[in-house]
Amino acid sequence: MDFDFTQEQVMLRNLAREFFSRESTPQVVRRLMQDPTGYDESSWQQMAEMGLLGIVADPDLGMIEQALVLDEMGRNAYCGPYFATAVLAASALAAAGDNTLLPQVGAGALKATVAVLEDAISWQPSAVQMRATASDNGFVLNGTKRFVPWAHVADKILVVARTDDGTTVFVLDCETPGLSVTPNLEMDHTNKTSSVTFEQVRAETVVGEINRGWEVIGPMLRRAAIGAAAEMLGAMRRCMEMSVEYAKVRNQFGQPIGMFQAIKHACAEMLLDVENAHGATYYAAWAQDAHTPDAALAASVAKAYVSDASRKVCGSAIQVHGGIGFTWEYDLHLYFKRAKHLEALYGDADFHREQALRLMLEQPVQQRQAVLV
């Protein structure tokens, strides 16, 4: 029973912390927020060299390592197509057994994204309505995908569409005729999403198998839920640290505000939420790597718990700061918005609470105790 990270994992975390606190300073983040591409190519290439883009494909690394990196990204509000490429697309490709595109992703030569959501807000296969109609030598796609992360800089897009007997995932060049990308402006300016419209788009390459698209998207969404939890964890950790620091130096009524129980207790509750979020995130990551019978439950627990906890902590941070925390110049909103962005994606807290309940009811307690606890 060991909940501590291995030496290698600690080294990776330190490496990532050092890298993102250098490459993703608030100044850099603020510059990229206004930049239409929204990321820095030289940082991207360095991440490739460090192996951060190839975690999914690396047999020696797992979800724990992935979470450690995302944790640090959340802490520094890193801007770029990392989640879209190295988590979503890479997980989907890995689930499909791909070995041609994955190495390119790892090498930093290919940016990719995955298009799941449509008009309806649902992470269930039934919500996939976009049609892929079989034609002579492939399929023809028609419809609109929403909230496609970083599609505006992606080279490839994986898209899940409805086929005769289920869903199917296709991979396309973003330059394919009939495919158009319309960028949104997110409340979180550090993240870019787009609506992607398909008009008579020819799709020839299937990821995984025809009609079995959810065997690719399902495992991807599970990793995405844990990954999002890790990134939210980083953001909330930063918000807590800033609040505690501020409460020590901000004086009112002749004393630091952290001396007042109203503020002290708010900070104590932040630590409770951060510690629990850490436990939930890394337990889920471990369970995923160890293929435990409760891995799906743990992923839902992590996304449900951390979504709520990050909302609470990041919100409380603004409250502890008062007026300064509500200004654009102060950095708090970068992390507040980053956490908020991820709250709504890959299943929100309501969705994962329902999943958690279903999974708990399916698992007899005796058995679980014997196998796991």
């Binding site: 990270f5 994962h352 609470r353 309940l357």
Partner: protein, 404 residues
């Protein structure tokens, strides 16, 4: 990170599980509870963390956690002499004299002598160090007068660990000493207090010039506060996972009832609002499980959980209140029935404290957890000041005093 149990742990768990399948307590009476502890002791499940030379098992935290979990899973009560085993005995092991250890420790394990902790007073609750019960030297003895309150197990106790003021002329933390007190001696009067549950597990204890023999002081005169801090600091290792097991059993039972209990024309389990709330509880209980693993991981490495103890206590005690409130919300007026609950709606099983547990008892009992052993507010002060290093609040009793 590796949260798997070793094959040895699994084998141990199977052994423990078989044992609990074959052994049940006789009943609920004091003598039954003592006999049950004796049975547990003979099986090696009492004082597991104590050193062997004092009758313990030198067991690993993991083994203790497994036994606590299996006990919870079997729905049987733990050892009756809980304070002695978890707190008082270990303090005596560290700070007691050879004679004290020989005299008291073994009988704590076998429940031959039950112990209570004489700490809180009417005017000294969260601010324990302001206690007023005094012990004055008289020849070789100490003469004790004053009053304690909220003393758990006092009505059943043979001995108590007493914190009393032996020097009123020094700062409050330094004038306190630690004693072993014979609860049957003539100057001691125990008046049971009825709790909101209707049970009387705690009491007021009055000392009317009770005499304590000189050899019953623990440690040095004036060292009481320091020793009490070690007592308060002893970690209750595997208890968190046992709590999880009880919550899970509770939640499962509630979910089962929700399959048939009709709310507005549909089974409660089909109501999305009920499902959301059950789901939230399932999530929170799982998170407690992971917190339990983190503590166990530290204990297994011989580290003392620091801030985790306060965070853990704050979380599980507040969680229990939310959980029991959820039960009440879902069961509606049924949740409040102490008698007359229709068949099929009972909680069933046996509770934490040995009584047949019930929804009403659990609901009421959940109010205690955020008060005893350092209230939630005190835990937040500890987290804020000792962990986050926020400035300590100015306190009237820390102001420089003139005179005395």
């Amino acid at each position: 990170m590796d949260l798997n149990y070793t094959p040895e742990d699994e084998a141990f768990r199977q052994r423990v599980r078989r044992w609990f399948a074959e052994h049940r307590p006789r009943g609920e009476h004091l003598e039954d509870r003592k006999a049950w502890q004796r049975t547990l002791y003979e099986a090696g499940f009492v004082g597991m963390g104590w050193p062997r030379e004092y009758g313990g098992q030198d067991a690993r935290p993991m083994e203790q956690a497994i036994v606590a979990e299996e006990m919870a899973l079997a729905g049987v009560p733990g050892p009756f002499n809980g304070l002695a085993l978890g707190l008082l005995g270990p303090t005596l092991i560290v700070h007691g004299t050879v004679a004290q250890k020989e005299r008291y420790l073994a009988r704590m394990l076998t429940a031959e002598e039950i112990w209570c902790q004489l700490y809180s007073e009417p005017d000294a609750g969260s601010d324990l160090a302001s206690l007023k019960t005094s012990a004055v030297r008289d020849g070789g003895d100490w003469v004790v007068s004053g009053q304690k309150v909220w003393t758990s197990l006092a009505p059943y106790s043979d001995y108590g660990m007493l914190l009393a003021r032996t020097n009123p002329n020094v700062p409050k933390h330094r004038g306190i000493s630690y004693f072993i007190l014979d609860m049957h001696s003539p100057g001691v009067e125990v008046r049971p207090l009825k709790q909101i549950t209707g049970h009387s597990e705690f009491a007021e204890v009055f000392f009317n010039n009770d005499r304590i023999p000189g050899q019953n002081i623990i440690g040095e005169e004036g060292q009481g506060w320091e020793l009490a801090q070690t007592t308060l600091g002893f970690e209750r290792g595997g208890n968190t996972l046992a709590r999880v097991t009880r919550h899970q059993a509770n939640l499962r039972r509630l979910s089962e009832i929700c399959r048939t209990l009709s709310r507005d024309g549909v089974p409660a389990l089909e109501d999305p609002l009920v499902r959301q709330r059950l789901g939230r509880m399932a999530v929170e209980v799982e998170v407690l499980r992971y917190a339990g693993y983190r503590i166990l991981s530290k204990l297994e490495k011989g580290q003392r959980p620091g801030s985790e103890s306060s965070v853990d206590k704050l979380y599980y005690s507040e969680l229990d209140k939310r959980h029991q409130e959820l039960v009440q919300d879902i069961l509606g007026p049924y949740g409040q029935l102490e008698r007359g609950l229709p068949e099929g709606l009972e909680l069933g099983g046996s509770g934490v404290r040995g009584q047949d547990s019930s929804w009403t008892f659990n609901f009421l009992w959940s109010r205690a957890g955020t008060i005893y052993a350092g209230s939630s507010e005190i835990q937040k002060n500890i987290i804020g000041e000792r962990v986050l290093k926020l400035p300590r609040e100015p306190r009237a009793d820390r102001q420089p005093t003139t005179g005395a």
